[in-house]
């Protein structure tokens, strides 16, 4: 593997590429802004006061560090490796998304931007963005596919409570990809005063790097907690992959540790051999969408296909460029879990550990269910429990044929 850089953590290159992926595929109107954002981010990174403020907010507002919880009954149930859950579900607003939103809104403020926009799928990123916008007193518009506003009604209500305006998006497939298009259109029209808080490690450079860096707190904490609690690094690290932000945040601090195996889990929907899934890396091919070159679900003509997952947060036909690169160099392996497998794990964790996971996170658990029994009892798996399932109880009840 002599073509690899000394550290897998050193990417992207100066023009925002991770190998053949990433880059800046945007309309000229946005290019100067992206260059400006890159500079502002670099300046913030080198400014101790920026980190001090962010760390303070992560501690006192988000409630970090989040626990790494050894799950005894789940471990016993699978009868193999020890299972540790990184409890991002305990964060303020109920998911990992807030880590990134706080970082980005501090950047927005440094850049003198006075209006915030975001896209959202499940509504978790929308809620997290609305939350930080409220905290900093900035007006906020969240674009959300009309399909998602229907299946995630509680989050629409939350965003409204937080003072954000939710704009249902009726174009295209009316889900996350279309909400992202609409947010980009808003941004092009309002470049002067508006900051676009992207919710995952997607979009044009420097977003995939910025979001990764703000989410890396997950993996940094997990690494130290594993060493403290288990006396060694985990044998396997697992996270679900929508755009890939909780996963990259979890994985990144481990990618240079050759002894740690890393698995990302995509949404297989009704099955990867049907047309209704969101397994971008597993079944897609490289293409360009939303500003970056990465794996995509597309037809032979390069038209983007609709993704499907029971979990709105994984229902996206693209994936972050760094994941595409990690897949191609073989450092991370990508798997998938079906709607049904996720539903099973959703219920299993609720019953065995008293933790209702987000449907997204349940995909990671579904993969653990397949792998843990095959591992030795002295081995350990660290799973990113990216969010809590309160938002999902209505759609899960519906899937189980129950009325609430």
């Amino acid at each position: 593997m002599s073509t690899l850089p000394n550290s897998i953590r050193s990417g992207p290159d100066a023009s925002g590429h991770f190998g053949a992926f990433g880059g800046r595929f945007v309309a000229e109107t946005l290019m100067p802004l992206l260059l400006e954002l890159e500079q502002a981010y670099e300046a913030a990174q080198n400014d101790p006061s920026f980190h001090k403020e962010l760390d303070g907010l992560l501690t006192h507002y988000v409630g970090r560090e989040s626990p790494l919880y050894f799950a005894p009954r789940l471990t016993e149930h699978f009868g193999g490796a020890k299972i540790y859950l990184k409890r991002e579900d305990l964060n303020h607003t109920g998911a990992h998304k807030i880590n990134n939103c706080l970082g980005q809104i501090l950047l927005a403020r440094r850049m003198g931007k006075t209006r915030i926009i975001a896209e959202t799928g499940a509504g978790q990123h929308g809620v997290a963005t609305a939350t930080v916008a409220a905290r900093f007193g900035l007006p906020c518009v969240v674009y959300m596919g009309e399909v998602d506003t229907e299946r995630q009604k509680p989050n629409v209500f939350r965003m409204n409570l937080l003072g954000a305006t939710v704009r249902p998006v009726t174009s295209g497939s009316r889900t996350l990809k279309d909400a992202t298009n609409e947010a980009l259109r808003d941004w092009v029209a309002n470049v002067e005063d508006t900051f676009y808080i992207i919710g995952s490690v997607v979009g044009p450079h420097p977003y995939p790097t910025i979001v990764r860096d703000f989410q890396t707190v997950i993996g940094n904490e997990t690494r130290a907690q594993m060493l403290a609690q288990d006396g060694k690094l985990p044998d396997l690290v697992v996270a679900c992959v929508g755009g890939g932000s909780n996963a990259i945040g979890m994985f990144h601090p481990f990618v240079d540790d050759a002894e740690v195996e890393i698995h990302g889990v995509e949404a297989a929907g009704e099955g990867v051999d049907t047309s209704r899934h969101a397994a971008t890396i597993t079944k897609g091919s490289p293409g360009v969408l939303h500003g970056a070159r990465s794996y995509l679900l597309q037809d032979a003509e390069g038209q983007i296909l609709e993704a499907h997952s029971i979990s709105a947060g994984l229902d996206y036909p693209g994936v972050g460029p760094e994941h595409s690169w990690l897949k191609d160099i073989g450092r991370v392996k990508y798997f998938s879990a079906t709607d049904q497998e996720a539903l099973d794990s959703f219920q299993l964790l609720s019953r065995l550990e008293g933790i209702i996971p987000a449907l997204e996170s349940a995909h990671a658990l579904a993969h653990v269910a397949k792998i843990a029994p095959k591992m030795r009892k002295d081995q350990a798996i660290a799973v990113c429990l990216s969010g809590r399932g309160d938002k999902d109880v209505f759609s899960v009840a519906q899937a189980l044929g129950e009325k609430i």
Binding site: G23, E28, L184, R185, V288, Q298
Partner: protein, 276 residues
């Protein structure tokens, strides 16, 4: 001399600006689209921008988005876009055709093959909206080799230092985006466009077309007085949307009528343009 260079040279000699209509290939269906395309030169088009349909046109407003989706629903493909151009070329050897769209359908075909097929069909230029100079080497090299121009976008946010990057490799003409926004959503402010054009003309000898915010013959005339070409897209594809149910002949007649009004208005502004 390329068709685009010949077109602007002739216009310059006549002291008038170009009328550049934008329509989407295959909108609302292949046959109607072919008839529209064939009618455009007769309705005053000096150069045609032909949209390549894409499922996720993120720099376009509702009118062009809908136009793209109509074409895709009617079975538009890149091969059929080339077929349209080829058919047009057999009847019209003069009017330049510039393909405009997004990168992914080009990427899916492979840049080399895309350029080869475009050249064979008789395409004269490419505008790939989401392929900035930093990323377009993959297309620029084969396009230049095939004699096809890469038309770069200049926008209100393109400051002087960046203009150098944008101009490096640009050929054919420059496309000045007259608003910060997506197509068909705002109207331009004449003074802002004038200032921008003066800035661009100082840095480049290429003709400059202006588009994104032009809907009416009066607006087109304003632009024709200060720029080398006026591009109208959303207003035209909106007519296709309105007349979709009326059948091919009525759609073509309605599009021709609007184009004739725009062209007359633009061509009436002879000799009044600012030249660097």
């Amino acid at each position: 001399m390329s068709r685009i260079a010949a077109c602007f040279a002739e216009l310059k000699a006549q002291g008038r600006a170009a009328f550049v209509p934008f329509v989407t290939a295959g909108d609302p269906d292949f046959d109607t689209s072919r008839a529209i395309l064939e009618a455009l030169p007769g309705a005053g088009a000096d150069l045609i921008e032909l949209g390549m349909p894409f499922s996720d046109p993120m720099a376009d407003g509702p009118a062009v988005q809908a136009s793209s989706l109509r074409a895709l629903h009617a079975g538009a493909t890149m091969a059929r876009t080339f077929k349209l151009v080829r058919g047009f070329r057999q009847r019209d050897a003069k009017t330049p055709i510039v393909l405009m769209g997004y990168y992914n359908p080009v990427h899916a075909r492979g840049a080399e093959r895309f350029v080869r097929e475009a050249a064979e069909a008789g395409v004269d230029g490419f505008i790939i909206v989401d392929l900035p100079p930093e990323e377009d080497a993959v297309l620029l090299k084969p396009a230049n080799a095939a004699g096809i121009d890469i038309i770069r976008l200049v926008t209100p946010t393109t400051h002087d230092a960046r203009l150098v990057t944008v101009l490096n490799g640009a050929s054919g003409y420059l496309y000045y985006v007259s608003i910060t926004g997506v197509t068909g959503t705002k109207s331009f402010a004449e003074n802002d466009v004038k200032t921008a054009l003066a800035r661009i003309k100082k840095a480049s000898t290429l003709p400059v077309a202006v588009g994104f915010g032009i809907r009416t013959p009066a607006q087109a005339a304003q632009i024709a007085r200060i720029a080398d070409a006026a591009v109208v897209g959303s207003a035209i594809v909106s007519v296709i949307a309105e007349r979709q149910k009326d059948g091919k002949d009525k759609i073509v007649a309605a599009v021709s009528e609007l184009c004739r009004a725009l062209a007359d208005s633009i061509h009436a502004q002879a000799g009044a343009k600012v030249r660097a």
